[in-house]
């Protein structure tokens, strides 16, 4: 407790630590691989990109290609996906007053996947949206799923107990999962690739995918950050929040939409990666406390760093085979889920 009190009483320290973690994770993830790139060279290459300077001559041009074309986009994509899922998870948890609410467990990721798979395999392209058809449909499917999950959970149990929401989420997940299998079976081919995509991966995506996720990440995160006080109030219950002066119906909708934007966009670029939205907010809350004013930005930083490292593990642990990143997050996340659940039952 005393360590936690110390950490909590020092906001600047929290941000410094989270930022340091992110930078170290990023440099490590770029550096490590089949070809190891020295950190000093990475800094030079990135510095040159950021400040639009010519790359220093002493840097090996192979390193430049590896970093600029392969590792950097991959690591950044992992970072944005991790950040999106972590902040979305933190927001869902605050809104539903449930530390087990996570885009994956709630079925939102599955919903987004159905949207993405449908788009990909029927080659849907909405005019005007063009390139953004995939994330937009994923986001719409994600939003539709969370609304349906909450609607059904409320129909089953007006008080919306933790167990009810999780069960409803699981039911939706398996139903939507089967729907995806059905679509795959109907299309027949490329099964292996789809399975890999479904388990989540940030490999071989490139800069274009970063272009897809960044605008949605910015919009979704800003919407949530603007509602951090409201999330604090809603953590004490919707009625309590109303009594404190929160316009609950409107704020709830904004938060659900923002969470769906973040989840949908993440799924559109990387597939369904589970448990990031569960583990990161949980860890962050334990270290720095539940105040969403800090929990949300800290979750962004930590979530980004976490998924960069997870991706690193997934591509190096049994190299040259690349594991789907979702396998690693599930291996870490499922036990954490179990621990939180057991703790909750004990408290109840």
């Amino acid at each position: 407790m005393s360590i936690r009190n110390f950490l909590k009483s020092n906001d600047a320290f929290a941000y410094a630590l989270a930022l340091a973690f992110l930078v170290i994770a990023m440099l490590t993830a770029i550096s490590v691989g089949s070809v190891a790139v020295p950190v000093s060279d990475i800094v030079k290459i990135i510095g040159a990109h950021v400040f639009r300077l010519p790359i220093a001559d002493q840097v090996d041009s192979m390193y430049v290609t590896i970093v600029s074309q392969i590792r950097l986009p991959r690591v950044l994509l992992a970072g944005f996906v991790g950040a999106s899922l972590a902040i979305a998870g933190a927001a869902f948890q605050g809104l539903l007053r449930n530390p087990l609410a996570d885009p994956y467990i709630l079925g939102v990721s599955s919903g987004a996947s159905v949207g993405a798979v449908t788009t990909l395999f029927f080659n849907i392209s909405i005019p005007l949206l063009g390139f953004y058809t995939l994330p937009v449909i994923s986001i719409a499917a994600a939003l539709l799923t969370i609304l349906l999950v909450l609607f059904f959970a409320r129909r089953v149990d007006r008080t919306m107990r933790v167990e009810t929401i999780i069960l409803t989420g699981i039911i939706f997940s398996s139903f939507l999962g089967s729907l995806i299998s059905l679509i795959i079976a109907l299309t027949g081919d490329e099964l292996q690739q789809i399975m890999g995509w479904l388990l989540g991966s940030v490999s071989m995506r490139g800069w274009s995918h970063i272009g897809i996720i960044v605008p949605f990440f910015i919009v979704g995160s800003l919407l949530l950050l603007m509602n951090s006080r409201e999330l604090n109030a809603m953590s004490f219950g919707e009625e309590r929040a109303q009594h404190l002066g929160v316009d609950v119906e409107r704020r709830k909708l904004v938060i659900l939409v923002a969470g769906s934007i973040l989840t949908g966009a993440a799924v559109a670029v990387s597939g369904a990666i589970g448990f990031v939205g569960l583990v990161i907010p949980h860890l962050t809350r334990r270290l720095w406390g539940p105040d969403h004013v800090h929990l949300l930005p800290l979750s962004i930083l930590t979530g980004a760093g976490f998924l960069m490292l997870t991706d690193l593990i997934s591509r190096t642990i049994i190299s040259p085979t690349i594991l789907p990143i979702g396998v690693i997050t599930a291996l870490i996340g499922a036990p954490v889920f179990a621990v939180i659940l057991m703790k909750q039952r004990k408290n109840a």
């Binding site: 009190n5 909590k8 009483s9 605050g94 007053r97 449930n98 530390p99 603007m226 006080r229 604090n232 109030a233 953590s235 004490f236 219950g237 009625e239 309590r240 109303q242 009594h243 404190l244 002066g245 929160v246 316009d247 609950v248 809350r285 406390g289 539940p290 105040d291 408290n347 109840a348």
Partner: protein, 485 residues
């Protein structure tokens, strides 16, 4: 302040509360009572704006609450919820600071010095400053409730709504919380509207009470007007007795449990009396309702053991009550259920007898000495040894005696005693006039509270006549024995 104008409302188109009409003035402590399902909580949710009115309107400061934004409403009105479990462990300070939410505008809300001042003030008021860095979850129920009260007060409301604020709280916390609210109402003009489960707490703290029954107003008045036996019995379907609070001018309601088994009819009589040189005792098989003067166990209560103790003429003790308690305990009596008296008279001179008619019986025991005889009309406050001559009268009534009748029984007995002294020509030695009693007389009236209800005991009633005759006769007998002895 708050006006409800013929308000109805409920859920899913079904009205739960109907046609509720009242106003609360600033600084008033207003209580809402009613059995489960009577619509208390629904009414509260309508006042706090959580559910809309189906008909009628609710006004706060003469403005319909529907026309307030949530934030504007939260600046005028705060709600203290019932205690519930919370998922995340916010600190006390973070929790209370949320109360300032409504006072912040725009996206870039900054914490102002005024916010900090309010925060410090309410934390001091509710006495939670000491644990401001602790997690709310880890506090006791009473402390948590204080934290949420501080949160509500941080909204700086004019009106505070409470839903059974003392639920799950220890006795001391109930009192502290309500005292704090009462103080706020009296000193700062805070208007309080609260649901109460506990009729007696509501009576103690509220200025007015609204009693709801099946969603409608059943009564709206002061605690004394609402807490009547008939109303409460009808609305709560439970038998209750009303009694004034011993120290505060407010009524209290007592539940009457159903008797587990029909207890055997008890008749108090000579067989229960034990006369010894050192004391006369009577032990009743059941507790008797008593009103008495005496050395200990005096006043109004329920007692089973009655002791009239012989002491020497020169008995002199600075603490007769403490000495009497010691004596009773030494002799195996439980002082909590014993009425104890003293006299210097010889115990074998006691006179007693059963007086009865077809319905009622009275068992009367008198010990009398007249060394101290005094004319009450002329008494000059002579100081004489306290117990030298004393008339102690015990009256046991086998029947149900009302409070009225207890008092009349004492009047009747006293009149009969005076008459006995007059006929025996007992004189006040100082004034030379006929005495009306002695300066240290004691009386006990005890009733079994079974059988016949005896509403009166004046001399016009059969009970009064039995009391009068028996006291007159037994007192006369006792004095004659004393004089002979």
């Amino acid at each position: 302040m708050l006006n409800l104008d013929h308000v109805s409302g409920g859920y899913d188109g079904q009205p739960v509360v109907q046609d509720i009409h009242f106003s609360v003035s600033p600084g008033e402590f207003f209580g809402i009572l009613g059995p489960n399902g009577s619509g208390k909580t629904t009414l509260m949710k309508m006042i706090s704006g959580l559910i809309p009115c189906m008909s009628g309107s609710i006004q706060l400061n003469n403005q319909n609450i529907r026309h307030f934004s949530r934030k504007a409403l939260a600046k005028k009105m705060a709600v203290l919820p019932q205690l519930t479990a919370h998922t995340f462990s916010y600190t006390v300070r973070e929790t209370v600071a949320l109360g300032r939410y409504a006072h912040h505008e725009g996206f870039f809300q900054t914490w102002t010095p005024e916010d900090e001042h309010v925060l410090q003030t309410v934390m001091a008021q509710t006495n939670i400053t000491a644990f401001k860095h602790e997690a709310v979850q880890e506090l006791s129920g009473g402390e948590q409730q204080r934290v949420f009260l501080a949160q509500a007060l941080a909204q700086q409301p004019n009106l505070l709504l409470l839903d059974e604020p003392t639920n799950h709280l220890d006795l001391a916390y109930q009192k502290n919380l309500l005292d704090l609210l009462k103080k706020g109402a009296e000193q700062e003009g805070l208007t309080v509207v609260s649901i109460f489960h506990d009729l007696n707490l509501a009576s103690l703290y509220c200025d007015r009470l609204l009693l709801l029954h099946e969603g409608r107003e059943r009564a709206l008045a002061t605690p004394d007007g609402v807490l009547t036996e008939d109303l409460i019995q009808e609305v709560y379907q439970a038998e209750v007795k009303k009694h004034p609070h011993p120290e505060v001018a407010k009524p209290q309601m007592y539940l009457l449990p159903d008797e587990a088994e029909t207890t055997e009819e008890v008749t108090i009589g000579p067989s229960m009396l034990d006369i010894r040189p050192e004391h006369i005792t009577l032990t009743a098989p059941i507790p008797l309702r008593t009103i008495s003067s005496g050395v200990c166990g005096a006043g109004i209560g329920w007692h089973r053991d009655f002791v009239n103790r012989h002491v020497l003429c020169d008995y002199n003790c600075s603490d007769p009550e403490g000495e009497m308690r010691d004596y009773l305990e030494r002799n195996g009596f439980d002082t909590s259920r014993t009425v104890g008296m003293m006299t210097a008279v010889q115990m074998e001179d006691a006179a007693y007898g059963v007086w009865e008619n077809d319905y009622i019986s009275v068992f009367t025991v008198v010990t009398a000495g007249t060394g101290n005889a005094t004319d009450s009309a002329r008494a000059a406050g002579q100081t004489r040894p306290a117990v030298q001559g004393t008339i102690n009268i015990w009256l046991f009534v086998n029947g149900y005696v009302t409070e009225d009748a207890f008092i009349q029984a004492i009047m009747t007995a006293t009149e009969a005693k005076a008459q006995a002294l007059r006929e025996l020509g007992i004189k006040d030695e100082t004034t030379g006039t006929i005495a009306t009693g002695t300066s240290t007389d004691s009386i006990l009236v005890a009733a079994t509270q079974q059988g016949e209800t005896l509403p009166y005991a004046g001399t016009a009633t059969e009970l009064g006549q039995l009391i009068g005759k028996s006291v007159y006769a037994e007192t006369k007998k006792a004095i004659q024995r004393y004089q002979a002895g």
